[in-house]
Structures are given as C-alpha cells and as structure tokens.
Symmetry: C2
Subunit: 358 residues, 2 copies
DNA sequence: AGGTCTGTCTGTAACGTTACAGATAGCTTG
DNA sequence: CAAGCTATCTGTAACGTTACAGACAGACCT
C-alpha cells in the first residue's frame, strides 16, 4: 500500500493560463511543480535555477530551496529537445582491440572527469575491420553527443578531417600529423623509445629490435623515430622485426619473436610498445631457448604493473591510461565550452625506465 | 562553398494549419519534412514508419522510401520526451575494480548485443567505497535509462531489492540468493571450483588452498561451496588462505601467498578465482623458493588467454566475459520487452581445466 | 434509403525545457 | 508630470514525437 506522498496541488486543466497546472506527487518534479509551489512562472523558475541575472536575490534563493527540497532534476529530454545540447560525450572504441585492460582505464578516466559535470558517457563501438567513419558519422548526423573522443588515431585521420570540417568538438588519443590544430592527449612515445634504447645501450646491448604499433597509427612514427634517434645517439644497430606489430595475435608475435631469436644476428635487446605483446615476446624468446635478462633485455610499456610478476628481469615504462581518459575528457569539455583548441593539448611524459621494485 | 542541398520547401509559418511547415535542407529531416514531401500528415508518417496497422500499403511504402532517401532518423529527444522511453541501457561499473581487462570485455559484449537495436550504452561509474546505491537511484530517479546492468552482485543485494520494488528492468552479473526471480547471467563458479579440485586431486595434490572472491559477493559462496564439495569428494584437505581475496592488492596477495607457502603444512595445490590475482599468487610461491608445477599446482580462472605465457605449468579455466556482456544485454532487453524474467537467466558452464596448449 | 462499419488518414495537444518579446511597478530624470 | 529607466517577473511558442479523438470516403448491410 503506497503512502500518500507529495504536496496537494490543484491539477486544473487550464490550457491557456497554465500557471496552476502541475503534476501531483507521484512522478518527478518539473519546473511547473516548482512554479506552482512558489507561485512563480515557469520561466522565472527556470532562470532562477541557472543563476540568470534578472532574478531577485530572494526569489532565487526561494526557488533553489524548493528545488532542492523536492529533489528537482532537469529533464534531459526536455533540455535536449529545446536546446539541442545532449550533455553526452561519446567514446568511440574499437571492438577488435586485443587483451589487457587499458580500455577500462580510459573509460574510468573519462568517467572520473565527467562525474562532477552533467555529462554522461556513452560508448560507441565499431570494428576497425569495417568502416571507422561510420560511428563518427552516426554521432554527428544524429547529434547524439556534444563531443567525441577518438582512439587509434592515424597520422592523417579521416575522422579528424570530417569533424574539423563540421566544427564538431572532439579530442584524439594520440596526435595527428595533419597540420591542423585540435585537442588531443598523447603519451610521448618518442621519449619512451629513446629512453628505452638508451637504457639498453647502458646495459651493453648493441643489436636492438623494436616491436612497434601498427604503421597505420600515428604513434607508430613517434615510436620509430624515438627508436632511430636512440640508435644514432648510442651507435646501436637495428634488427628489423619481421612484419609484425603489437596488433598481431599473441601466437603471431610469439612465433615471429622465436624466429628472430634463432637468427644468427639475433637482437640482444627489444623494445616493445605494449604490455600484452611483451608477454608474447618473452614467450618467443624462451621458445628459442634464451632467457630475458641474460641473453637479452626487454623494455616494455605497461599500463598495469603486472609484468614484473611475469619475468622480474623485464624493464618497464608505465603509461597511465586513466590519466589519458581524464585529459581527453577535459579537452573535449574545454572545446565544448568554447576554449581555444590549441590550449587543449597535453602530452604525458614517461617517468623513466624501471627495473623490478624501482 | 556549400552546394545547395535538399528539396525547396515553403517554410510558411502557419501556426495552426501546420501541414506545410517544414525545415529547409540544412538541418536533419524530421517527420514534418517527410510529411511535407509526401503530402501526408505527420501522424500518418509517424505510423507508417513503425508499421502501424491502419496505414495503406502503398502509403507505407512511399513514406518508407522517402524516409530512407532523406536519411531520416527519429530524434531521440523527441521520442524520449513524449514516450519516456530513453533507448538507453546503463552499465553500472565499480571504478575501484582492479587490473585486467574483463571490464572492457563486458562492455564490448554488451555493445555487440545492443548494436542491432536502437539502444545506446551508457557507463555509470561509482566507487564501492562510497554508496553503491547512489548510481542506481540516480538512474531510476532521473529515468535516464530503460534498463540497468549490475555487476559485483551480492548474495542479498540492496540494489536488486530496490529495483525489484520499483519494477525497474535490470540484469545482474552473478546470481543473488534472495528468493526473488530476476534476470541474470552467471558463470558456474561452483562447477569451476569443483573441477579445479578434482583436477588437483588427479595430479596427486592433497592440501588445497582457495583464493576466493571477497565474501561480500554472491559468487564467493558458489566458489567456496564448489571447493568444499570437491574436498569432500576427493578427500583432500583445506588449507585456509589468510584473510585475503582476489580483491586484495597484488602485493598483499603475493605476501600472503609467500607466508602461506613457508608454513610447515603448506598447500600443494591452489585454486584461484581471478587471472590477475594468480600472477600475484605465483609471485608469492616463487618468493618462497618454490615452483609451480613441481612443488605445487595452481588452477586459475582467466578471461584472457595469457597466463600460459607467464608460467606454462599453470592450469586454467576460461571465463568468457564478452559472452557475459552479450547475455546480460539480452536479458535486460528481454525484460524491457515484457518477457518473463524467469526465462532471462543464463548460466555459463566452464569448459574444463586446461593445461598448456590444450 | 438510411445506417453502420472499415480502412485510411487527419489535426490537436502534450511531454519539459528555454528563447523571446513583452508586462508591470517603482524610480529617476528632464 | 510625462517620459524613460531599471529591476523583476510574465506568457507564448517552439523543439520532434506520439496518443487520442475524430473525419471522411466507400462498402456493406437491412
């Protein structure tokens, strides 16, 4: 048996005057409810709640008090229909993405940044095997979000071009190389690869291989360039990894690594751009009868501090994806709020190569 | 320079008659656009598009053709405001969740199931350190979704109680033990633990420890019961794990395991309920100077087939979280569509304990 | 012929919000 | 004292959709 709840109201069906028309207790309060309770017009209530200038101080306080009392929350559909503002950020994710939970870290990071705002996070999936433009077009055409966060950014990314043309707010995880200014957050992969090579050189390693991101992605180039710069600086030699990237399957990476390690001129140092891939690399090394830390050293990025449990001799550089999520969210929100995109770019600098326990 | 697009329309500001009022080419088409183009009323168009019965066959086809041509997509805000239907499913996630990407797998699974529907997925984060009811209340009170997916289900879960009372559609990841019928998807953790014990017994292991889920969660009990049943069946002995669950930190689990392994009556078999935790367990075992496969065997659940790369001797049982996501989505959608909740429960059966390469 | 039914189609109102264009009252100003 | 200002507050209309209550024609009965 339901208790009688709420304030008694004259639910007159006045169609034109409208002042007294209001819902009774059961459904959630609207502006009309508060208007009725305070004896004000809905317009006044609406403005009072958003601190508009032409509202009397006392009225404002009264309205806000009542609104708090009845637990008023603006109806998103109403706002959205009227203003076109969705209060939604769309995170576009590739469902082919492999293993290891950096995706959840990004999501949590974005959520964290969105929590104190009225924005909701909606996940828009796609498969990179199909058309990567499709989800972007969908969001823009149906205006289902106020901003978009993109990952797997390419050097010349059609999604970025499309969104720039339309002036639709977005931020990319990873920089592009298109000569256009847009918000992004990126990890400094050049610095990562450079420091990795330095570390390996320091350990006396001279023949280095790089397991890079797929060449379609922007940060492939940063990584490769950092690696090259490191080779030049240290005088070490590059041993090419045979047609495989961190996007390869576990088994593929493992096999290719084993092949590589059985060659005469095998590497004595490897730089790996992803934690999960590194597990496969180590598997391949050991398949070839060799041992990490003795025959070879491996420097790997990792997003979760687990690799040392695997092989204590591994060297790691941490990449914080939760931070990335936060920064990306801050960037899109900034753009939506009208900030200059040039000020919404951030780079996360690696904190150095670490051994076990460091 | 923008091309001239779209059909020329008389944008008369007829306020009452209304038939001819329509937008010109730039913004997205609405029912009014199609009504104008076909010469029909908006109501007719609306009904024709949803295959309502009282629309003539030819009219229906004509409307649908035009709609397709102009790329009509219903305005979500309009629908939502009018009908109260949000076409949104909320996935409520704990941001304290540790490591390893099973969260992304669930998200991808849910996305997959939602893709062919008009539903969007919104991620509603919370911290289990604060009030777990808060996100649920928020979604229900603001009617910001048509259905909710809950994880970290407890045996007697207040969220389930709350939602049942209000008849709000939801599905839980994990069963409850509350005597109420509600949709869920669960992995058969009883079977997992039972099979794990059997396998260990088969290998001659007699003193078994269990690293269980935290006792707040429903599947803690399934796991513990399966483990117990296995002990009874095989006559093996339980060695209690000292106050630690898979929710513990990596270091905590590692330390506790090492302590355990240094005791006189140390276990010669361990069952672990989570892949990430298992890495720590193995770390602890080796800290104590012992070796997996020789001094002890470990059976672990894993969501991503990576553990064998870590220690080939590990035994694993796979849990498919993408499948879980799909099933959870199907369950909520089913409830929303009015299906009997009793038919929306599913259990995923472990596919057996596997060694390397199996 | 008059009535009723059926198959199609129709306009109006409403969901909750905000932009806009006033309205009112009290004050100041010339 | 009229005119103008300022500080507050107001109602109406519109965003795009669907529920509802018809309206109209033609067919079918009696």
């Amino acid at each position: 048996m339901a208790e009688r709840v709420g304030v008694a109201m004259n639910d007159e069906s006045v169609t034109n005057g409208g002042r007294a028309k209001a819902r009774n207790g059961d459904s959630r309060p609207t502006l009309k409810t508060i208007a009725f309770m305070t004896g004000l017009g809905v317009t006044t209530v609406s403005r009072a709640l958003k601190d508009a200038p032409e509202i009397g101080e006392e009225t404002r306080r009264r309205v806000q008090l009542v609104a708090r009392q009845v637990g008023y929350r603006p109806n998103r559909a109403g706002v959205r229909l009227r203003t076109g503002k969705t209060n939604v950020i769309s995170l576009v994710l590739d469902t082919e993405e492999q293993i290891m939970g950096f995706v959840s870290d990004i999501i949590y990071g974005v959520s964290e940044a969105l929590a104190p705002t009225p924005y909701h996070l909606i996940v828009t999936p796609y498969s990179r095997l199909n058309d990567p433009m499709e989800p972007i077009r969908y969001v823009v055409e149906t205006a289902s979000a106020d901003g978009i966060i993109i990952s797997r950014t390419e050097r010349d990314d059609p999604r970025v071009r499309y969104l720039m043309e339309r002036g639709f707010p977005f931020a990319t995880h990873g920089r592009t190389d298109m000569g256009v200014v847009h918000p992004f957050h990126d990890f400094d992969n050049h610095a990562f690869a450079l420091e990795a090579v330095r570390k390996l050189a320091e350990l006396g390693r001279r023949r280095l291989a790089l397991l890079a991101p797929p060449s379609t992605l922007a940060y492939h180039y940063h990584t490769v360039n950092g690696f090259s710069d490191g080779l030049i600086e240290t005088g070490a030699t590059a041993i090419p990894f045979n047609a495989v990237s961190i996007d390869g399957s576990i088994n593929q990476i493992r096999t290719r690594t084993a092949e590589l390690m059985r060659r005469k001129n095998r590497p004595d140092g490897i730089v790996s751009s992803a934690g999960a891939a590194t597990l496969a690399v180590v598997g391949g090394i050991e398949d070839a009868g060799l041992s990490v830390g003795r025959d070879i050293d491996v420097v790997s990025k990792q997003s979760t501090p687990l690799l040392h449990l695997f092989r204590p001799a591994l060297l790691v550089v941490n990449e914080d994806f939760r931070l990335a999520g936060r920064e990306l969210a801050r960037s899109v929100l900034g753009w939506i709020d009208g900030a200059d995109p040039a000020t919404l770019q951030s780079l996360s600098v690696p904190q150095g190569v670490k051994g076990v326990g460091e």
